[in-house]
């Protein structure tokens, strides 16, 4: 039961530390680190086995790269290419070269210096993105620039891994590569590919290319029908299992061939990023990735050498500060070159000045591959952690000190988004489709969810963007962007699910207006009580139209038929409103039935009467003056 007691300790640490860290504004990554520190060096609960756990947890990184690939949209990337290649690319390359130079100046071998430079060039996506999002700075020029750089860095992980692999394979033998044999099977693959080692070089290359091509082709053509088949079974856990199977399978395949599993899953993610199942895959993999990654940071924290920290605190801290000042300078210059001004430039340079969590992963890999010395890794791990720790302080500095003072100039015209605000629609059946078509014809930003894979596919064929998933699942709704939505439209055909969805959305997203499809008048009351702003009976207008056309067919003048219909609708609405209180107070009881009958009788009277009665709307319009009026 050692496994269970270990699991208990780790989970407890995470559950205690992370919410606390979030409260203090430090972010969850730091929370995990600190938790690790506490249960490791501080309390000594966790010891040497932490490194074993770390290998296991590295799989979280593989999953993360899958999700990164999934989130990427090639079209969006193409649009942002100038920023990505220019701003992002220059930041990565420039910082790498700068740090490598410093490393060489300090006497490191060029391979180590290069590795160190690349690793330290990356910033913390988790901390920066989260903060920018929370404070609403993401939409500013500075925020957008930061986002581009972070995105580039995410993508850059792949070539970095490749370069590190090359450095390792080129047989540097710089340091004791004893750890290599322990096997970093997951993120590294430094020793993987033994199966191919026997083959000639060109054949190896060919097989590798074939595998990559295979992933792309399979992803594009095979996976969709497979997912549809699984989805039709409507067993959620099987879909999750399939997603995991996919990720693990690719990781194994890549490892077999000697490539980085993260690269493979990243590719698979990119290929699947425009499929209908993207949201579902995200929802399913995200929790696993979150936990494994958290576990990873925990183990990193547990592995921190505190003796080192307390031994040479000044060195460590000054290294950290030096790192941040250096990165800040590079970023500041880049920001100037790319025409960021004032507060935006400060936000950009301050926000990204730290080294990121990916450093821990890459350090581990570099260590195992013998590219970096263990002491160096220990030191730099501390330095990176400290830089991350200091980041919230920098944001506070920006918020309180710089933002208010520096005049925000109109450096760049903000991207004008033509869409009229975001609408999330749940349910793309007969009802939802009509609503969606009308909204999209008016350039609204529509996100659509449906749980029938057949519908999703068919709609995809005619060009409508629909995402597969059960709309009653909170995580799917969240992933659909309900946080930033203006409007939520519940268009499911299941009466009870409708009420459930409305209830959940009303409670969780109080700022979103809710329109709901109602089965009948009683469902209207139910939905309103659940929090819908407007509930519309699904067949009412359709039936009314047929009624109106029927009147015309029977010889009633079209304009009169129109007026009569309008009156009917108005009266029905009056009845709906009048009976609401009665219904809410006791449901369909005798008093309700009586009241309803009373209303119906009034309606018949209204429709029947020919009197030019002034109190009644129906006959009132265009009434000629009485014959006896001689004043004219």
């Amino acid at each position: 039961m050692e496994l269970l007691s270990d699991a208990f300790v780790y989970l407890l640490a995470a559950v205690v530390a992370v919410p606390l860290a979030n409260r203090l504004g430090l972010g969850s990554v730091l929370g995990y680190l600190i938790a690790g520190v506490v249960i490791g060096p501080l309390l000594g609960i966790v010891g040497a086995e932490a490194t074993q756990v770390q290998h296991f947890a590295e799989f979280g990184v593989v999953m993360m790269l899958f999700l990164v690939g999934l989130e990427l949209r090639p079209a969006m990337l193409w649009k942002m290419r100038r920023q990505l290649v220019g701003l992002g690319g220059l930041q990565v390359v420039g910082t790498t070269v700068a740090f490598a130079g410093v490393g060489i100046a300090f006497g490191l071998a060029w391979q180590s210096a290069l590795a160190l430079g690349m690793i330290l060039a990356l910033s913390s996506t988790a901390i920066v993105l989260q903060t920018l999002n929370e404070k609403g700075w993401l939409k500013t020029a500075g925020g957008q620039g930061s986002f581009s750089v972070l995105l580039t860095q995410d993508i850059a992980v792949i070539p970095i891994l490749a370069i590190l692999l090359l450095l390792a394979l080129s047989g540097t033998g710089v340091h004791d590569a004893g750890h290599a044999t322990e096997g970093h099977e997951t993120s590294g693959g430094a020793h993987g590919g033994e199966a191919l080692a026997a083959l000639p070089g060109w054949m190896q290359a060919l097989i590798i290319l074939a595998v990559i091509a295979g992933i792309i082709v399979a992803g594009r053509h095979m996976l969709r029908p497979v997912f549809r088949f699984i989805a039709e079974a409507k067993l959620r856990e099987i879909f999750t299992a399939t997603a995991l199977l996919l990720v693990i399978g690719i990781a194994l395949l890549m490892d077999f061939v000697g490539l980085s599993p993260a690269l493979g899953t990243f590719l698979a993610g990119v290929v699947l990023s425009d499929s209908d199942y993207r949201h579902e895959l995200e929802s399913d993999i995200e929790p696993f990735k979150g936990l494994l990654l958290g576990l990873f940071f925990l183990t990193v924290g547990a592995g921190i050498d505190f003796d080192l920290l307390f031994g040479v605190p000044v060195t460590i801290v000054s290294l950290a500060l030096g790192l941040m000042i250096f990165k800040f300078s590079v970023l500041f210059v880049l920001g100037t070159v790319f025409r960021l001004k004032g507060a935006d430039r400060w936000l950009f340079a301050l926000g990204l000045a730290q080294a990121g969590e990916f450093a821990f992963v890459l350090f581990g890999f570099a260590l195992g591959a013998g590219i970096l010395a263990p002491e160096l890794v220990q030191t730099m791990t501390l330095v990176v952690a400290i830089s991350m720790l200091l980041t919230p302080a920098l944001f506070i500095l920006y918020e309180k000190g710089i933002a208010p003072r520096v005049v925000r100039g109109s450096d760049r015209a903000p991207d004008v988004i033509d869409t009229k605000g975001r609408v999330v629609i749940a349910g793309m059946g007969r009802f939802g489709q009509i609503v969606t078509r009308l909204l999209m014809a008016n350039e609204c930003d529509v996100v659509v969810l449906d749980h029938d894979p057949v519908i999703v596919e068919n709609l995809g064929k005619i060009g409508m963007r629909t995402y597969y998933g059960d709309a009653t699942r909170p995580d799917l709704l969240h992933g659909a962007g309900l946080e930033d939505a203006d409007l939520f439209i519940a268009a499911l055909d299941d009466r009870d699910k409708q009420t459930l969805v409305v209830e959940h959305v009303a409670k969780t997203y109080p700022n979103v207006r809710i329109l709901a499809r109602a089965r009948d008048r009683h469902h209207v009351y139910e939905l309103e009580n659940a929090g819908a702003d407007i509930a519309e009976r699904e067949v009412f207008e359709g039936a009314l139209t047929v009624g109106r056309v029927a009147l015309r067919e029977l010889g009633v003048h079209p304009f009169r038929a129109e007026s009569k219909t309008r009156t009917f609708r108005k009266h029905d609405l009056v009845m709906l409103n009048d009976l609401r209180e009665n219904y809410n107070d006791g449901g369909i009881d005798k008093s309700y039935v009586d009241a309803m009958r009373g209303h119906s009788e009034t309606l018949f009277e209204i429709m029947r009467t020919e009197q030019a009665d002034r109190t009644e709307n129906m006959e009132r319009g265009w009434t000629p003056p009485p014959k006896g009026d001689s004043s004219l």
């Binding site: 079209p558 319009g621 265009w622 000629p624 004219l632």
Partner: protein, 204 residues
């Protein structure tokens, strides 16, 4: 000439005068009579369709009760949407050049009410200035309004049939091009007494 009668009455089921007038118009060869409220009960005027109609006719008659010194609302909607710049007016808008247009109306007030000394203190034709000026801008010929005064008592006073018959004569005269257009354009008003306005000749 091809005659188009655009009929506008929101409650023809209650109409004593306009309804029979419209029925008459429909029965005459060479006349196309359109019930605007029936065709567009939701006011969704099909602009292209209406413009095509205008192109294929030579005489455009608005037949309606004189609601509040004007026409029922759908006529205004029609004017606002159909008479587009570049079609009906403006330097490229010549579609209606030279066509004839007029109003055929029924009023509540008596004839003498529509005079300088009468109740309304204005001539009827002056009150129809918006229609006349619209016609001028579209380079059309505006004729005096064919009118039934005191329409509210026409049936009781036995004036309906004469007026309906006169309307028929007017339409037939227009179809066979026997109306004295200059005289009709210069007159203050056209009533049942049409004799001086129609060339004798072919039988009606």
């Amino acid at each position: 000439m091809k005659v188009l009668v655009l009929f506008a009455h929101p409650r023809p089921d209650r109409s004593e005068v306009n309804r029979p007038l419209f029925d008459t118009a429909r029965s005459i060869a060479g006349v196309d009579a359109v019930d605007l409220y029936a065709e567009y009960p939701d006011f969704g005027i099909d602009v292209l369709k209406e413009q095509r109609r205008l192109l294929t006719h030579d005489v455009i008659i608005f037949q309606h009760p004189f609601y509040w010194y004007s026409a029922p609302a759908i006529v205004k909607e029609w004017q606002d949407l159909v008479l587009e710049h570049g079609f009906a007016y403006g330097h490229d808008g010549h579609a209606l050049n030279g066509k004839i247009t007029m109003n055929a109306i029924t009023t509540g007030g008596r004839h003498d009410a529509y005079s300088a000394g009468g109740f309304n203190h204005i001539e009827l034709r002056s009150l129809l200035a918006p229609f006349e000026k619209t016609a001028d801008l579209c380079r059309m010929r505006y004729l005096a309004p064919f009118t039934l005064f005191g329409a509210g008592r026409a049936v009781e006073e036995g004036r309906l049939d004469t007026h309906v018959a006169a309307y028929g004569d007017l339409l037939k005269a227009l179809v066979s091009d026997r109306l004295k257009l200059e005289k009709a354009a210069a007159a203050a008003v056209l009533t049942d007494a049409l004799d001086g306005f129609v060339h004798e000749g072919e039988a009606a």
